[in-house]
Amino acid sequence: MSCQSFEPMIALYVEGDLPEQDVPRVEEHVATCADCRNLLEDFEASQAALKKLGAEAVDGALLTAVRAGVLAGIDNRRRLRWPWVAAATAALALLALFLAPSRRPAPEPRPVAIAPAPPQVEAAVGGAGPPVRSRRPRRRAVTARPPAPQQLVVKMLTDDPDIVIIWLVDQTGD
């Protein structure tokens, strides 16, 4: 194995990055090769220069500028976001109003007159003689007048044209 092929391995060995199985091979070679020992020293010097750069403190003014820029950016984002949130909320509210069913009260159903069961009607009874079979008044027609708002009037006609039954029902319960 030539010295040139050791260079990439020495570049890793100098910082302990060489895989363990390769370490003995590099160490044995460096122990016997002056050129590679010099190469290793070169690497140590260049790595030291690199480390010095890495150890430098970062300019405080740069950090302050970064911090100020980040916080201003966060602040701007929040300010920009609120008008959008407000606009979106308003748009949703309008949409909800538009889509919601009407809340006007539905018209009440018209009142329905319920005809109660007709009363028994006794026919006029004559003097003596065989008892006249009572006749049930035949309802010929039952008309329900359009009721007054508080009164139900039921007019019943019987077979006898002289007899008319008028039934008044007070719906108020008075």
Binding site: E7, P8, M9, A11, L12, V14, E15, D17, P19, D42, F43, A45, S46, Q47, A49, L50, K51, K52, L53, G54, E56, V58, D59, G60, L62, L63, T64, A65, V66, R67, A68, G69, V70, L71, A72, G73, I74, D75, R77
Partner: protein, 197 residues
């Protein structure tokens, strides 16, 4: 100008810039920041800002770009806080996003040589200071001349001191690939510095 949030973070959590925090504090701040506490977010920012800014400086070799990149990284963190499941993952997440943001910036500014650095100062008066500054700039330029992937691997391993396994996790590569990249980078750096020094 110190913002109200900065003052809150300093008073509320008593953390100076770059001061390391213990794990419990970091977890607490992460949870508070996730619930919208800006002062807690700033405490997290102060823990991690040095690493993010230093990595961006080394990858971009430009102070203004590094500042923009670091700001972008922390704003991304703020937007994605709910996706960070533990304080332990935060460093890795930040390094990964920093590398990606810097790579995007490098691609945008292709062919633009920009190797100015934050610490370069003509005020270095003595001969020794000037020599040190010159050597330092050589190292900065040598790192800046590396291909993107080798520069990222070398920066994370040799300048940030992460292990090859950690670097592999951050870059989404295998450990063998990372070893190959840092070996190639060190060989190039050594050659460049030997020629110049």
């Amino acid at each position: 100008m110190e913002s109200r949030g900065v003052a809150l973070a300093m008073q509320g959590y008593g953390l100076a810039a770059g001061e390391p925090a213990n794990t419990e504090d970091a977890v607490r701040w992460l949870h508070l920041a996730q619930s919208g506490d800006v002062a807690a977010f700033e405490a997290l920012l102060r823990i991690h800002e040095i690493r993010v800014a230093r990595t961006a400086l080394r990858l971009l070799a430009n102070r203004q770009d590094a500042q923009d990149a670091a700001q972008d990284v922390f704003l991304r963190l703020h937007r994605n806080l709910r996706h960070i499941d533990s304080a332990g993952n935060l460093s890795g997440w930040l390094y990964r996003v920093t590398v990606n943001v810097c790579h995007d910036m490098l691609r945008r500014r292709k062919n633009v040589e920009s190797l100015d650095d934050s610490r370069f100062s003509l005020e270095s008066s003595t001969e020794a200071d000037l020599e040190r500054e010159q050597q330092r700039r050589m190292v900065v330029e040598a790192v800046g001349s590396l291909p993107e992937k080798e520069r990222a691997a070398l920066t994370l391993r040799d300048l940030e001191g992460l292990s090859t396994r950690e670097v592999a996790g951050i870059l989404g590569s295998s450990e063998a690939t990372v070893r190959s990249q840092i070996s190639a980078a060190r060989v190039k750096i050594r050659k460049m510095l030997r020629c110049r020094l």
